[in-house]
């Protein structure tokens, strides 16, 4: 009997407490960080340039404008090489000038040491003649392999191929070779001598692989606290709720509140009227230094947006 009386008394007390205390509201703060885009590359070093000159038999056999294709290609290569600055990092690869078996890979040619590399290689390019066959695509793939192994090519490389696209040695496709160069970070410029068609698939080469020297450090989540401050405190009520950005929602009593997030500089949101059971979500877009920080506030479906120039 005494137990029943105690239970009744407790239930009555609980009912009074529920009637007198307002149902709590909650506040949650989230932050999204914008990673700064930074390049970590050495601008001083010029990107390597590889010139591939096709001297295979079809270049020797075909003529236009009173010139063999070979003469035209040598003229173009010579002029290009001579136009390079004296400190250019340039290599010449010659296809079809080796003796021996019918299909030979392109041969890298060394620049004479008595002149700047471009000038010396231009003289070499103009002096060579056709002696064998070789695959343009295979030679481009070989250059791509070479570049992949070179640290200096990480920040870009350039490949210039001068050819009639008419080789008797087939080894891989031109588009596969162009894709390999793309993956190795090399631009490909193709100078076509004569009227051979250019494969349409070359226009499809591309992608958005992250460059190797892009600042790739993951951005740590925002570490900051926030406070929820009552605008109209009742007599004797000086409490303010504390929470962590990205953490759990904190319960607060309904009413007019401001949210202060301890970022640098601090973000102050509000005043916002919180009803019973309402959830105030503050979402902040953290941006790199120098940009205005933006945030959004969501309260029970009513959106309030702002930035550092306009306090909601």
């Amino acid at each position: 009997m005494r137990n029943a009386g105690t239970a009744l008394f407790c239930a009555a007390l609980l009912a009074c407490a529920v009637l007198e205390s307002p149902m709590p509201a909650a506040v949650r703060v989230e932050a999204v960080r914008a990673a700064p885009a930074v390049l970590e590359w050495d601008r001083a070093a010029p990107p390597p340039i590889h010139v591939l000159l096709d001297l295979t038999s079809s270049m020797q056999a075909s003529r236009t404008g009173g010139l063999t294709y070979l003469q035209a290609a040598q003229q173009a290569a010579g002029r290009f090489l001579r136009s390079l600055p004296a400190d250019a990092d340039v290599s010449l690869h010659v296809l079809g000038s080796a003796t021996g078996s019918a299909c030979t890979p392109a041969i890298p040619v060394k620049a004479p040491s008595d002149s700047p590399p471009g000038q010396g290689l231009a003289r070499v390019a103009e002096a060579l003649y056709s002696r064998s066959e070789g695959s343009l695509a295979g030679s481009l793939e070989a250059i791509a392999r070479l570049l992949r192994g070179e640290e200096r090519a990480r920040a870009g490389a350039r490949v210039l191929a001068i050819s009639d696209l008419d080789g008797s040695c087939q080894e891989g496709g031109l588009c596969d070779a162009a894709a390999a160069l793309f993956s190795a970070g090399a631009d490909l410029d193709l100078v076509v001598i004569g009227g051979a068609p250019v494969p349409a698939c070359l226009d499809q080469i591309g992608g958005d692989e992250e460059p190797p020297f892009f600042a790739a450090a993951p951005i740590p989540p925002t570490q900051a606290d926030f406070r929820v401050v009552r605008e109209e405190r009742r007599k004797g009520d000086s409490r303010s709720a504390l929470g962590k950005v990205g953490g759990e929602a904190v319960n607060v009593a309904p009413g007019r509140v401001r949210v202060i997030v301890d970022l640098d500089p601090p973000v102050e949101v509000g005043p916002v009227e919180l009803g019973r059971n309402s959830l105030l979500r503050v979402r902040i877009l953290e941006v790199p230094e120098g940009e205005p920080r933006r945030w959004e506030v969501f309260v029970d479906g009513a959106d309030v947006r702002g930035d550092e120039g306009s306090v909601p």
């Binding site: 990107p47 010139l67 162009a178 100078v191 226009d203 947006r305």
Partner: protein
């Protein structure tokens, strides 16, 4: 979040909107899946996964995508001076975030990883040697732009010693642009200086303003790349004196140059 925005709508309208939203979400998801399957638009390190776009229904993610796209565009413009392929990758990624931006579409065309040229073959030039001396350096040794017609010179006459190598300011501008593309900023400034001397030799009254503007903007671009902001301000000041209403296309010029131009126009000075 989206459901709370439509909390006050009538039930029928809500159902309709839900259906539309569902269809939109499905098509977005399918597009994202297709992009993911093709290996495109995967988030890079530090980015939000899945990669949002500027039209993301979440305004905060849309704002992030906008900001990130702007950042990438700034980096890609710098990269273009050095490597088309690397710049192309960054432009492509930026266009994942903002597929509709026209400047990105243009940049992707400009930085195509593979370019091909079919130069016209003009034949052989027979040029007599003056004075009967040794063959001088061939005139054809001057720079050759890819795709330019090819002419073989068999015998040559030397260029007069007194004449400069490039006589036309247009050629100085082209040489400076090429040097910039090759990230050779000091060399670009040398070409600009030669162009300025040529312009000065013509006298202020005969100076074509557009050539002055081109030279000074090229100079400012190189100077900014070399960290010489004060010199860049002076170059842009000269450009504005030649053409007061000058504006620079952000799709073509570095955002830093564009911003600095506006700052110089407004008379702002950098903090000491």
């Amino acid at each position: 979040m989206s459901s709370s925005r439509f909390g006050r709508c009538s039930e029928g309208v809500t159902r309709e909107i839900s259906a539309i939203l569902g269809a939109l979400l499905l098509s977005t998801a399918l597009a994202a899946t297709s992009r993911a399957e093709s290996g495109l638009c995967a988030p890079w390190a530090g980015e939000i996964e899945p990669l949002p776009t500027v039209s993301d229904p979440d305004p905060l993610l849309a704002a992030w995508a906008q900001l990130r796209a702007d950042q990438l565009a700034e980096v890609a413009l710098l990269l273009e001076l050095r490597s088309r392929v690397l710049a192309h990758r960054v432009w492509r990624h930026a266009s994942c975030l903002d597929p509709e931006r026209l400047g990105f579409v243009r940049a992707l065309t400009r930085t195509a990883p593979v370019r091909w040229f079919r130069p016209e073959i003009l034949g052989v030039d027979e040029i007599e040697v003056s004075g009967g001396g040794e063959l001088p350096e061939p005139v054809s040794e001057r720079s050759w732009e890819l795709g330019e017609p090819i002419r073989v010179v068999l015998a040559r006459t030397p260029a007069p010693e007194s004449s400069p190598l490039l006589l036309d300011v247009t050629e100085q501008i082209a040489a400076a642009e090429k040097a910039l593309r090759d990230a050779r900023f000091e060399l670009a400034l040398e070409w600009v200086e030669r162009g300025r001397r040529l312009l000065a030799s013509q006298g202020p009254a005969r100076e074509p303003p557009h050539q002055r503007v081109q030279l000074e903007v090229l100079a400012a671009t190189a100077e900014i790349a070399l960290g010489r902001e004060e010199a860049a301000r002076e170059s842009l000041g000269r450009a504005l004196r030649a053409q007061a209403g000058l504006s620079l296309d952000p799709a073509v010029h570095s955002p830093k140059v564009v911003r600095l131009l506006e700052s110089v126009r407004g008379g702002d000075r950098p903090p000491p």
